[in-house]
Symmetry: C2
Subunit: 138 residues, 2 copies
């Protein structure tokens, strides 16, 4: 049984959508932009210190989620980041951006002045679409 | 002969330090934080759309630069990001962070209120250290 736990701050900020082979897939509660967060099941805190084979699997899962975001939300750009200044547990931001979004072209952190919530039916539709169509590569 | 050109905005913002096998290594001119930018020689604009074998080589070069940053600048954290909202050419931010730096814990983009320049001797020492000690993995 996995003893891995998602950091409590991420659980406050995000909806948990499911998991791929290596990463839990979260969706930031602010629906102004499609802001996904992948949490790999590893104790390593720096993406660039994850051993290369696992790192590439994690990147593959980010790529699958990025393609999903572009398809479902018509995002024209993906912002990818591993920051971790506030939450030390390794997590990757995979964010769909478009030139008409709420804070384009600025990064999302600190620049979304308002909050918008997902309605339940929308959240469930995203979850189902993700679970049906996003798979880890073997 | 390579026809690849680094985006002019990156050349305005950064010092060019050299190149690894796949990436040109730039250093942001603002010395408040050790802010490296790697520019892979590819026409793909999204890191997550780069074919996996090349992507992992690029990530390996980022990892080598991150280790260099931690050693030389005593950074305790690395912020890694591929944004590209302003400069479309693929470039990866590899930024050394510490809990006493100029904008901790906020991300650097838009949060560095002042500028500090590298003095020439310091810049040359960084360049030499990088060229001597950071290698691409084969």
């Amino acid at each position: 049984m996995s003893r891995f736990r998602i950091h409590p701050q991420l659980l406050v900020d995000c909806h948990v959508l499911g998991r791929l082979k290596h990463c839990h897939v979260l969706l930031h509660k602010n629906a102004l932009v499609p802001w996904f967060i992948l949490v790999p099941e590893t104790g390593v805190t720096e993406l660039l210190e994850v051993p290369a084979p696992l790192r590439e699997q994690i990147m593959g899962e980010c790529a699958a989620v990025a393609a999903f975001i572009k398809r479902r939300f018509h995002s024209t750009k993906i912002n990818l980041a591993a920051l971790g200044n506030l939450v030390p547990q390794l997590h990757l931001h995979v964010i769909g951006r478009s030139d008409n979004d709420a804070c384009w072209p600025r990064p999302v952190w600190g620049n979304l002045d308002t909050d918008k919530s997902y309605i339940t039916v929308e959240l469930e539709a995203i979850r189902e679409d993700l679970q049906q169509n996003v798979k880890s590569q073997e």
